[in-house]
C-alpha cells in the first residue's frame, strides 16, 4: 500500500527519530509523530513534521492521534511493565479507526535471551516466556498484535530487529565513553555473536513493511549482513578514540557475583536501622519532641551508669570503625564500571540471526555493511563531540 498519512509512535526514540528524518527528507510522506514527552522531541522538531501530544496509555489521546491515519508504525516501548497494555490500546485504537496497516516493531528478544540453535530463524526459534523482563515484555506485546492479525481485524506486519546501532545509539556511546577513560570492557573475551543492524536499514525494513502487501500477516527478523562478534563491535568504536586503552575482560560469573553482592539483604536493613538509631543527629531531632527528649536523656544516663568506661570506649571504637569502613568503600570505585546484567544477556548471545525471510518477503536487504554503518556513526560521534 502507499500510505496517505502515517502515525509514528515512539517517534522521539532512537529508531523513531531516524524514521521521522527519513519520512521527511527522503520519502516526503505525510506523517504524525506521537510525543509523550516534548523535552525529548528536539531531534524530530528539526523536521517540518506534525507533532501530536499523546500517550499510548491514554486511550483518548491515542484515538485523536490515530484519527485520519491509514498506517501506523509502532516503535513505542515505555517500560516492560506496561508494554502489553500500551500495545493492546494501540491495536484497539487502530481497529476502531480502520487503520489499513500496523507495522509493529518488536525485537529479536522474543526468541529469548539465549537461543540454543546456531542460526535463529522465524520458524526454528520458539517464542515463549523466558523469565527475562525485556524479552517477556516484547513477546507479550507481540502476542497482542498477532492475535489481532489472526482475528482478521487488523492488517499487521511484525519486525524483529536485532542489535540496532547508529547515530544516537545507546549501545555505542558507553563504549566510546569508556575508551575516553582509557578502558575497553569485554564480556567473556567478546566471543558472543553481535547481530548488529544499522538503524537506517531498520527504517528501510519498516518502509518495505508498509509498502509490500504480501508481507501482511508476517513476522520478520531484521539483521545486518556482516557477521561480527561483540569484540569486533566494541573494539571498532573504542578504536575511534586516540590513545592507549586497557582491556578489561569480565566473565559472566564474575559479573553475576558482583551484582548479587550489591543486592540489599535483610541484614543491611537491620544495620541501617541500628546506624540510624545510634546517630547523634537522629537523637537531636528526636529530642526536639519534649516527651521523647526526656526519655532519651534518661536512657542515656541509665546506660552510662550501667556500663564501664572501658566498655564505652570499645563501643565507640567499633562504631567509628564501621563508619570509616563505609567511607572507604564509597571512594573505592573500580577503574572500569562493572558491566550490567543486561549487557551480559546481550553479549553472551551465541546464535546468528538470519534475515533470509525478510529479504525474500519484504524485498529488503541491509544496505550498510558494519564497516559503513560504523563510519556513519563515527561522523555523528564527531559532530556530537563524543569523539
Amino acid at each position: 500500500m502507499k500510505p496517505a498519512t502515517i502515525l509514528v509512535t515512539g517517534a522521539t526514540g532512537f529508531i523513531g527519530s531516524r524514521l521521522c528524518e527519513i519520512l521527511s527528507l527522503e520519502h516526503r510522506l505525510p506523517y504524525r509523530a506521537l510525543v509523550r514527552n516534548f523535552s525529548r522531541a528536539a531531534r524530530i522538531a528539526r523536521l517540518d513534521a506534525e507533532l501530536v501530544a499523546g500517550d499510548l496509555l491514554d486511550a483518548g489521546s491515542l484515538a485523536r492521534a490515530v484519527e485520519g491515519c491509514d498506517a501506523v508504525v509502532n516503535l513505542a516501548h515505555a517500560d516492560d511493565r506496561t508494554a502489553r497494555k500500551q500495545t493492546a490500546q494501540l491495536v484497539d485504537a487502530c481497529t476502531r479507526a480502520r487503520v489499513r496497516r500496523l507495522v509493529h516493531v518488536s525485537s529479536m528478544a522474543v526468541h529469548g535471551p539465549s537461543p540454543t540453535v546456531p542460526v535463529v530463524t522465524e520458524s526454528t526459534a520458539p517464542i515463549a516466556r523466558w523469565g527475562e523482563a525485556y524479552s517477556d515484555a516484547k513477546a507479550a506485546a507481540e502476542a497482542v498484535v498477532t492475535a489481532a492479525a489472526k482475528r482478521g481485524t487488523l492488517a499487521t506486519v511484525i519486525l524483529r530487529p536485532t542489535i540496532v546501532y547508529g547515530p544516537f545509539s545507546f549501545f555505542v556511546t558507553p563504549i566510546v565513553q569508556d575508551a575516553r577513560q582509557g578502558a575497553i570492557s569485554l564480556i567473556d573475551g567478546g566471543r558472543g555473536v553481535c547481530n548488529a543492524v544499522y538503524v537506517d536499514d531498520v527504517c528501510d525494513a519498516i518502509m518495505a513493511a508498509l509498502a509490500r502487501d504480501d508481507a501482511v500477516g508476517g513476522a520478520f527478523l531484521i539483521n545486518g549482513d556482516t557477521r561480527i562478534t561483540w569484540r569486533d563491535f566494541i573494539t571498532t568504536f573504542a578504536g575511534m578514540v586516540d590513545g592507549e586503552k586497557i582491556l578489561h575482560d569480565h566473565s559472566p560469573e564474575e559479573i553475576a557475583a558482583h551484582w548479587r553482592a550489591q543486592r540489599p539483604r535483610a541484614r543491611d536493613n537491620l544495620s541501617a536501622a541500628v546506624r540510624l538509631a545510634a546517630s547523634p543527629s537522629f537523637h537531636a531531632q528526636l529530642g526536639t519532641i519534649p516527651v521523647l527528649g526526656k526519655l532519651i536523656r534518661g536512657t542515656k544516663e541509665l546506660v552510662a551508669r550501667a556500663i564501664t568506661a572501658e566498655r564505652k570506649m570499645l563501643l565507640r571504637l567499633r562504631l567509628q570503625g564501621r563508619r570509616r569502613a563505609a567511607v572507604q568503600g564509597a571512594v573505592d570505585v573500580p577503574s572500569v564500571r562493572m558491566p550490567s546484567e543486561g549487557r551480559v544477556v546481550r553479549e553472551a548471545y551465541r546464535s546468528w540471526v538470519s534475515n533470509d525471510l525478510a529479504k525474500a518477503r519484504l524485498g529488503w536487504s541491509p544496505a550498510h555493511p558494519f564497516e559503513l554503518g560504523a563510519r556513519r556513526t563515527e561522523e555523528w560521534l564527531r559532530f556530537a563531540r563524543i569523539l
Binding site: R46, A367, F383
Partner: protein
C-alpha cells in the same frame, strides 16, 4: 507590592516563584494562565494564596506589577496590554519574536510610563563585570578570538508543546537558549557584524546552531564563534582568547572567572572569585531586587527592552542568512537508489 504572574509554566514555577515567595516586599495576588491547571499547580507548589485567572484582563486593580512568562509569541501583546493597564512588567526572554514586536513593547513602555524589564537573568552574574574589565585591562593581552558555547541534551520540564509550536515561539536553540549568552556577549563587547549562520533544521526548529561574526574589542576586530546545542554537551561558557591566555566565564559557576595560561610550558588555571555566595536562585533574586527598585524609584531597569533588542536583531539576521549545517551521517550513500 502586589504582583501577578502571567504564564505559570516551568520557568514561573521553578525560577520566579521560589524567589518571590521568600521576599517580604512582594505578595503574589494573581496567578494567570490560559490553562487553569498550570496556575492552580503553581499556587499549590508555592503555597501562594493568589486568585487564579485565565485572562490577563483580570489583573486590573489587583496587581501593581507582573511577570510575563507566557510563550514568546505572546510576550508583546500581553506585556503591552498590561502596561496599558498601568502595570509594570518584567518580561521573560527572548523579549519578543521579532525586533518589530520588541520595539513596539519598548515604545509602549515609554508611552505608558511603565517599567519594562527583561529577564536576561545572566546579566546579573557576578563574573560579567570582571570579565569585561580584565579584558580591557589587557590581562590576556591582545584578544584573538571570542568563543561562546552552550549545549546540553534538552531536558527542560515542559508544561506544554510550546517549545516546538510556531504559534508559540520564534525559533529553536539559538532563539531560546542561545539568546542568553548572545545577549551577554553583546552587552559586554558591543555589536556583532559580518554575521554568518548555520543550523541543523529542516523546516522545523534548530537543535544545533553555529553563529560567527566580528566583535570590536580594544578597537580591534576580533572573530567570534557561538555554538549552541540541544542535542549534546558543549562547554557552557564565554571564552576570551588572548595572546597571553584565555579568560573563561562559565555558566555553571557565575561566581568564578577562570584564567587559563601557559606558564613555563605547562598549563595553568587561576580561579578568580568574583562573589562570595551565589546559588542557583541568586540571579533571580538580584533580578527581582532590580525590578522592585526600578518600580519604587521610577528608574530604568538594569536590563532594558532597548538593550535586549540587540540580541533579537542578531538572531533575526542570523535566521535570514541561514545555511544548512553539515550532518554527513544523514546522507545515505549506501542506500539503493
Amino acid at each position: 507590592m502586589r504582583l501577578g504572574i502571567v504564564g505559570c509554566g516551568a520557568i514561573a514555577r521553578e525560577a520566579h516563584l521560589p524567589v518571590i515567595t521568600g521576599d517580604r516586599r512582594v505578595v503574589v495576588t494573581v496567578l494567570c494562565d490560559r490553562d487553569r491547571g498550570n496556575a492552580t499547580l503553581a499556587a499549590r507548589e508555592s503555597g501562594v494564596g493568589a486568585a487564579i485567572s485565565t485572562d490577563p484582563v483580570e489583573l486590573a486593580g489587583k496587581v501593581d506589577a507582573a511577570i510575563v512568562a507566557v510563550p514568546p509569541r505572546f510576550h508583546a501583546p500581553v506585556a503591552i496590554q498590561l502596561m496599558e493597564m498601568g502595570i509594570d512588567v518584567l518580561c521573560e526572554k527572548p523579549l519578543a519574536i521579532t525586533v518589530a514586536d520588541g520595539r513596539m513593547m519598548a515604545e509602549a513602555a515609554h508611552r505608558t510610563g511603565r517599567v519594562l524589564a527583561v529577564a536576561h537573568m545572566m546579566r546579573f552574574f557576578p563574573h560579567n563585570r570582571w570579565l569585561a574589565e580584565l579584558v580591557e585591562d589587557g590581562e590576556v593581552g591582545e584578544v584573538r578570538e571570542v568563543i561562546v558555547e552552550d549545549g546540553a541534551p534538552l531536558d527542560w520540564p515542559m508544561a506544554s508543546n510550546s517549545y516546538f509550536d510556531r504559534n508559540a515561539t520564534g525559533g529553536g536553540v539559538l532563539f531560546d537558549s542561545g539568546v542568553h549568552l548572545l545577549d551577554r556577549l553583546l552587552w559586554l563587547f558591543g555589536d556583532l557584524t559580518g554575521i554568518a549562520y548555520e543550523d541543523d533544521s529542516f523546516g522545523g526548529f534548530e537543535s544545533n546552531a553555529k553563529l560567527t561574526g566580528v566583535l570590536h574589542v580594544g578597537g580591534r576586530p576580533v572573530p567570534a564563534r557561538l555554538e549552541f546545542s540541544w542535542s549534546h554537551r558543549l562547554r557552557r561558557s564565554i571564552r576570551v582568547v588572548g595572546e597571553r591566555g584565555t579568560l573563561e566565564a562559565s555558566t555553571s559557576d557565575p561566581r568564578i572567572l577562570t584564567l587559563h595560561r601557559t606558564t613555563r610550558g605547562d598549563p595553568m588555571e587561576m580561579r578568580i572569585v568574583c562573589a562570595g555566595k551565589w546559588d542557583a536562585h541568586s540571579h533571580y533574586r538580584a533580578q527581582l531586587d532590580d525590578f522592585i527598585g526600578a518600580i519604587r524609584e521610577r528608574r530604568a531597569p538594569f536590563v532594558t527592552a532597548e538593550s535586549a533588542l540587540r540580541a533579537l536583531a542578531v538572531i533575526e539576521e542570523a535566521y535570514a542568512r541561514r545555511t544548512p549545517m553539515a550532518q554527513p551521517w544523514l546522507a545515505r550513500m549506501g542506500a539503493p537508489a
